[in-house]
């Protein structure tokens, strides 16, 4: 009874982190500083693991802290840091208002190992499988593709109302039309998750989630854990009935620490005050651990692994031939590197000020599904912006210094002369040349008082300003050909300073 505050503490920490992280994804007017956003997303387990594997020290530090925390305190990560976990808890809370939820103890399913093995087997070929189920990225997609558009619509409705009354106090925000592929996948995933929550609580976290499974190996031997005092327990079973991870076997008074996420709900439910969270020695840990029921599992692991491996065969196809359809943002190094690291969490998509970063649907095949690409028909990469690199938690987009970003070539402009307005209509345009920030677009005399564009490859960085600005439809007269491996462009010619032009007499 003394530890009643633990659940409250867990709820408070979880809410603070959840609200903060949601704000990172929902901030549609760049109110929150980028470094703050970057730090907020940097504590996620699997993204940090990927980032750490690229040799990034800070991410390695995050990994060590998360592992030590789990070893010491159990899977508090799943309760207080994982946004998808917190989202499930919130869902449960809402469902409970309408429906009495009762859980019961179930033997641990070995399916989680099957999923982990499947993900592990596909990893050398594709991140696609991991990305579909990685919890933080799932949350990012729900926030970016389902919640944020709703927030923007609400903002714009208010702005419209204010505008009607002659006030410009609320700034309307342009939102690009939804991408149904992305929205569809996200809706399907979220719906399945809600159904799982209604039926089995946090079953996703203990069967599907790879982060959960990895952490379960560590929490199995965690020092602090939930324990049932057999002396005080009256065997009422309320703890098990309220355990959303279904890990309390109240009959034998044991808690499966590998599945327990230390939500502390059981503690507050226990009428006898028999449940506590305390340090456990080795002997107590051995006693308390539930023995997994192995009867149904081996076959299931085999089935899941083999079925999913076969199903995922098309995904394993090499991506380089597909990469030509979609450029990766500056800082990615190459499309292949990018696809090897991006978990498609959409943090970059949410902070991109121009909206040029859009989630791919099938542009890069299954492997690259939901991973962002540069959608130059929608917009172009702002020359003085490095926002995506500031927030990427996996290192798929490294933060480049601005002067480096400004010479990083991610694609190259290709001019299709016969389609150009200047050639086809013999009228002036040069929208592309006006937008080009490096002046890679030179102008050639195309006739008296007419100029046509010409691309200087050495200066082009593939920012897409020309493609975006080109008024020719349906196929634009200038398009960016994405590069797989990014290159360094020649810095723009800064010229010599022009002397002051003092006016002695007006020429009119």
């Amino acid at each position: 009874m003394k530890q009643r505050g633990l659940k409250q503490l867990r709820v408070i920490v979880a809410l603070i982190y959840f609200i903060g992280l949601s704000a990172v994804f929902l901030d549609y007017r760049e109110w929150i500083p980028l470094d703050w956003k970057g730090n907020w997303v940097a504590v996620q387990f699997l993204p940090s693991l990927i980032h750490a594997m690229t040799g990034y020290a800070a991410a390695l530090g995050t990994m060590i802290v998360l592992i030590l925390l789990t070893f010491l305190l159990g899977r508090i990560y799943c309760s207080a840091i994982c946004p998808l976990g917190i989202l499930q808890d919130l869902t449960l809370r809402i469902i409970r208002r309408f429906k009495r939820m009762k859980f019961r103890y179930r033997a641990p399913s070995l399916m989680r190992y099957g999923v982990l093995v499947t993900v592990g087997l596909t990893l050398p070929f594709t991140l696609g499988v991991l990305n579909l189920i990685e919890p933080y990225s799932q949350f990012g997609r729900i926030a970016t593709h389902l919640v944020k558009p709703a927030v923007i619509q609400l903002n714009n409705a208010l702005a419209g109302l204010f505008d009607w009354f002659g006030s410009y106090a609320i700034v309307p925000v342009s939102s690009s039309s939804p991408r149904w592929g992305t929205v569809g996948i996200t809706v399907i995933f979220w719906s399945v998750l809600i159904i799982l929550v209604i039926r089995r609580g946090r079953i996703f976290c203990n069967t599907v989630c790879p982060a959960g499974t990895v952490l379960s190996f560590i929490s199995r031997s965690s020092r602090f854990r939930i324990r049932i005092d057999p002396e005080r327990c009256n065997g009422c079973g309320r703890c098990g009935g309220n355990c959303k991870t279904e890990c309390i076997d109240s009959k034998i008074r044991s808690v499966d620490a590998s599945r327990c996420i230390v939500c502390c709900n059981c503690m507050n439910e226990c009428p006898a005050g028999a449940i506590s969270y305390r340090f456990s020695g080795l002997k107590q840990r051995r006693l308390a651990s539930g023995k997994p029921n192995l009867v149904d599992s081996a076959r299931r692991v085999f089935l899941i692994t083999s079925v999913s491996s076969v199903a995922l065969l098309p995904a394993v196809a090499p991506g380089s031939s597909i990469s030509s359809f979609a450029a990766a943002p500056p800082g990615a190094g190459s499309v292949d590197d990018f696809m090897d690291k991006c978990t498609a969490c959409q943090a970059c998509v949410s902070v991109c000020p121009t909206g040029v970063l859009k989630p791919a649907f099938l542009q890069r095949g299954f492997s690259g599904m939901m991973q962002p690409y540069m959608a130059f028909q929608q917009n172009f990469c702002n020359y003085s912006c490095t926002s995506c690199g500031e927030v990427c938690p996996t290192g798929a987009i490294r933060l480049l210094p601005l002067e480096k970003k400004q010479v990083t070539r991610i694609g190259i402009a290709r001019f299709h002369r016969e389609q150009c307005v200047v050639i086809s209509k013999y009228t002036d345009c040069i929208a592309c040349g006006e937008h080009c920030p490096t002046k890679a677009l030179k102008v050639l005399q195309a006739g008296e008082r007419l100029v046509e564009p010409h691309v200087d490859d050495a200066l082009c960085i593939g920012c897409g300003a020309c493609e975006y600005a080109c008024p020719v439809r349906p196929r634009r007269a200038i398009t960016i050909e994405p590069l797989n491996r990014h290159e360094q462009a020649k810095p723009p010619d800064r010229g010599k300073s022009v002397p002051e032009e003092t006016i002695t007499e007006f020429p009119f």
Binding site: V173, P437, V443, G495, V498
Partner: protein, 305 residues
């Protein structure tokens, strides 16, 4: 209120197209200009805000253009995410001073917006114009939202038969156009007041794809600003209209003011060192009678600080 006003205006415009939308106080004033008022003020040798004060006084003061309780739109060039020293956007000190003088003349509210080429929040911020305008008390409005733009027909147009125009242009009492003089790499080689109006429409693609010069002339003919203030304090000489570095700019320390958009573009082109007759949209503006290229026929006040 404004939207309702707009709708009413549109209906009126639909019935008696030319009178409803295009006959604005500025044109009435133009008729009076022959009676000794200055048609164009050219000034050089000072800071933007100092030159503006002297020039607007020479024009007869801001009260000539802005009456008490009027709603004023100040439309600078905020096209690019570039700092003031790159001269890709109108000088913020000039914008600030114009807004102040509008309020001194009795304006009810002054609005500032542009539809930038670069990302709009960065352009507003890094140009220094958003902060300057707010400091002077203006309401800074987004130009990057389609819901603010309303389709209007341009009955006299040759190419641009209709355009989606920002509601502030449609329902402000006074429209002050504040371009910056810059080199532009299109065939005209220069962007000033008429070209600056591209920033008040939503669909610029149409202009680019359908005889740009004609569209510029068509639009200026239907939406003549009441006053044009050309910032030639620092101008872009090369790599316009955004430039790469300060080296693309030259310090000219000049300013031109006129209610006649064609005259002011003609004078500015000469100041830049080009022949106005070689700039197609200016000659079209002259033959449309949007304004005059004949600078000898107008009353010009030249000043040096």
């Amino acid at each position: 209120m404004q939207r309702r006003e707009f709708i009413t205006k549109s209906i009126v415009g639909g019935l008696g197209l030319m009178t409803g939308l295009t006959l604005k106080p500025g044109q009435l004033l133009l008729a009076k200009d022959s009676q000794g008022l200055v048609d164009l003020a050219a000034i050089s040798g000072g800071e933007p805000e100092v030159m503006f004060r002297a020039a607007i006084d020479a024009m007869g003061g801001m009260k000539r253009f802005v009456k008490g309780n009027q709603k004023v739109l100040v439309k600078p060039n905020i096209g690019w995410d570039a700092p003031p020293e790159r001269a890709a956007n109108t000088h913020p000190s000039l914008v600030m001073e114009i807004i102040k003088s509008c309020y001194e003349a009795g304006a009810k509210e002054v609005f500032v917006f542009d539809n930038p080429c670069d990302e709009w929040t960065r352009s507003y911020k890094n140009s220094g114009i958003e902060a300057a305008a707010k400091e002077a008390g203006a309401t800074v409005v987004s130009g990057k939202n389609e819901s603010y733009y309303h389709e209007v027909e341009l009955p006299r147009a040759k190419s641009l038969k209709k355009a989606k125009v920002h509601e502030l242009v449609l329902n402000s009492d006074v429209f002050i156009n504040v371009p910056i003089l810059k080199n532009h790499r299109f065939g005209g080689q220069i962007t000033i007041a008429m070209k600056n109006l591209m920033g008040v429409v939503w669909d610029r693609d149409y202009w680019h794809a359908n005889d740009l010069h004609q569209c510029i002339a068509d639009f200026a003919d239907h939406f003549k600003p009441h006053l044009n203030i050309v910032d030639a304090y620092r101008i872009i000489r090369t790599n316009g209209p955004q430039g790469i570095s300060v080296n693309d700019t030259a310090l000219m320390k000049a300013q031109l003011i006129s209610p006649d958009i064609v005259s002011v573009d003609t004078a500015a082109t000469k100041l830049f060192g080009l022949d106005p007759a070689s700039v197609s949209y200016i000659t079209k503006g002259h033959s449309n009678k949007t304004g005059t290229m004949d600078l000898d026929s107008i009353n010009i006040k030249r000043m040096k600080l």
